[in-house]
């Protein structure tokens, strides 16, 4: 498969501070590649190096076959980009922004169609500052796509949005890929990464702590699944010898059985065999958030 991005041993230091330390990964064409990590873990620095917005202290980077360090403007005209903390002039009109951003590329799509697709047709004459947060996001996505990019960088585009606007943004991101672009998505929302990404790199202290599919990360780093129920039964030590069970913890009437694989079926069968049928029996599978907290140690890590 062709590769949209190749990063080898990327390093970026600020004086004594190492922001990015020996990061390597690649992004295949057509995938949504997620980058997650605590604040200060080097996500944004890495993405800025990929767009040639920041110089690198070491390593090699290839974006659509070009080195963004020496061909920054060229790379930026080929890609789409939604950066953190970047804005438009307050009084620029929606159509003016679309027209302006389309003018930098020969291969630009018709911005009127793009406005239609992103639901901006009714707002073409509105000024930027008068748009709602969701409308501004849609405009930003449309601007990132108006040059028909093969690769789009989206850095924390849902931060600060309310839950319904976030869901809408997810649909936008999925739609970007449907239209054939590769997406690099930086986020600190685990549900977002889990729902959207094909593969995820977990950044921690300037390094890639893990890189896998969401399911692979959860399986390798999420820890045990848990079967939870309540019972008045006194002695449950026999649960420890049920297949797939790794441990049993008790808090008053509440029992937590941790285990792997088919632990739920085995535990339920064993309980039933002893005539115990708890009404609140339920199963908790580890999520990407559990895997993330296990990987980065659970307390940020500035």
């Amino acid at each position: 498969m062709a590769r949209a991005v190749v990063v080898r041993n990327l390093r970026r230091t600020y004086g004594e501070v190492v922001a990015v330390d020996d990061v390597s990964f690649h992004v295949d064409e057509g995938e949504i590649f997620g980058i997650i990590g605590p604040n200060g873990s080097g996500k944004t620095t890495t993405v800025e190096c990929l767009q040639g917005l920041r110089s690198r202290s070491g390593g090699e980077v290839e974006v659509l076959g070009l080195d963004p360090g020496s061909h920054g403007t060229q790379v930026r005209q080929l890609i789409g980009s939604q950066l953190q903390e970047s804005n438009l002039p307050d009084r620029i009109k929606v159509w003016e922004a679309l027209d302006l951003f389309a003018s930098r590329s020969r291969s630009a799509v018709d911005w009127r169609e793009l406005a239609e697709r992103w639901g901006l047709t009714g707002k073409l004459n509105a000024v930027f500052a008068s748009l709602s947060g969701g409308q501004q996001q849609r405009l930003f996505v449309a601007l990132a796509l108006v040059n028909a990019p093969r690769l789009v960088f989206l850095d924390e585009m849902t931060t600060g949005l309310d839950p319904s606007a976030r869901r809408l943004a997810w649909e936008l991101i999925a739609a970007v890929r449907e239209h054939g672009a590769t997406v690099v998505l930086v986020t600190h929302f685990m549900d977002e990464a889990e729902a959207l990404c094909d593969r995820i790199a977990v950044f921690h202290r300037g390094r890639v702590a893990a890189l896998d599919t969401p399911g692979g990360l959860v399986a390798a780093h999420g820890g045990d699944s848990r079967v939870i129920f309540s019972t008045g039964e006194g002695d449950l030590s026999w649960l420890g010898s049920v297949p797939c069970v790794d441990g049993v913890a008790r808090r008053g009437r509440r029992i937590e059985v941790s285990g792997h694989g088919a632990v739920l079926a085995h535990t339920a069968a064993a309980l039933g065999a002893r005539g115990i049928y708890p009404a609140d029996l339920h199963f908790e599978r580890p999520t990407l958030e559990d895997a993330f907290l296990n990987l980065v140690g659970g307390h940020g890590g500035q």
Partner: protein, 252 residues
């Protein structure tokens, strides 16, 4: 690149949507000039040598027209251009433009083009309206006046890029720009004539670019010739601030 003319056109439209810049570029210089012309009129007492010297041999309104043509440039270069650049940097507009692949040249060229356009519109408006209301004279040496205008406007555009590069936030650009603007306006020709300034004020005004731009404009406008010293000083301001501004230009 088609983006530069498009960006220039949009920046021009944005200028006219921004009340603060509009007021300081047009309304304010007009207002002050018409107060001054209204108070002093355009008559000169040819028997009074002191008055002849202070007003440089012409009526006060004639004296002030070239000065206010210069002041429109100063408001553009000291207030609106740095404020625009600093606001764009602070709010991340430059960051977005850069990430979209706009080269630095497109940003600077569009800003300078708008600034020169505004200064030209202001100059024409002041010249025409004062001719209509006070019967002031047209430039005696039109080509030389045009040359002086281009040099002065270029210098203030460069000063604007420089201030926009070194003033970190919109707040400092607005404050710093207004202080520089009022200081220059009052002692570089827009307030009391140079002839009545105290020695220390005159010394201070010699260090201000507007003083020399106004001198260049007045000399050619009133037909006294080309002021080589003032034009060389203006060129020096242009070269130094343009070089420093381009060197210090930052996106974020």
């Amino acid at each position: 690149m088609r983006a530069t003319p498009k960006l220039t056109w949009i920046e021009m439209k944005l200028f006219f949507r921004e009340p603060m810049a509009l007021i300081f570029s047009f309304a304010f210089p007009f207002f002050v000039m018409f107060i001054l012309a209204g108070v002093f009129g355009n008559e000169i007492d040819t028997e009074d040598p002191e008055s002849l010297e202070v007003w440089r041999g012409v009526g006060p309104a004639d004296y002030y027209v070239p000065a206010y043509v210069g002041i429109v440039m100063a408001s553009m270069g000291l207030i609106s251009l740095p404020l625009r650049l600093a606001t764009y940097r602070e709010r991340g507009v430059l960051r977005r433009f850069r990430a979209a692949g706009f080269p630095a040249g497109a940003i600077i060229i569009s800003q300078v083009a708008v600034a020169l356009g505004i200064a030209a519109v202001g100059a024409i408006a002041i010249t025409v309206s004062s001719t209509l209301f006070y019967g002031t004279q047209a430039p005696e040496m039109p080509l030389a006046t045009l040359g002086a205008w281009l040099l002065g406007a270029g210098a203030f555009a460069a000063i604007g890029i420089f201030l926009g590069a070194i003033l970190p936030t919109a707040r400092t650009a607005q404050g710093g720009g207004l202080i520089l603007f009022f200081m220059m306006m009052f002692i570089s020709g827009g307030g009391p004539p140079r002839g009545v300034l105290t020695t220390s004020m005159r010394t201070l005004s010699d260090f201000l670019p507007l003083t020399h731009v106004v001198l260049m404009l007045q000399e050619t406008w009133l037909g006294y010739g080309w002021d080589t010293r003032a034009s060389l000083i203006t060129v020096a301001f242009f070269v130094c601030t343009a070089a420093a501004g381009l060197f210090r230009f930052r996106w974020g």
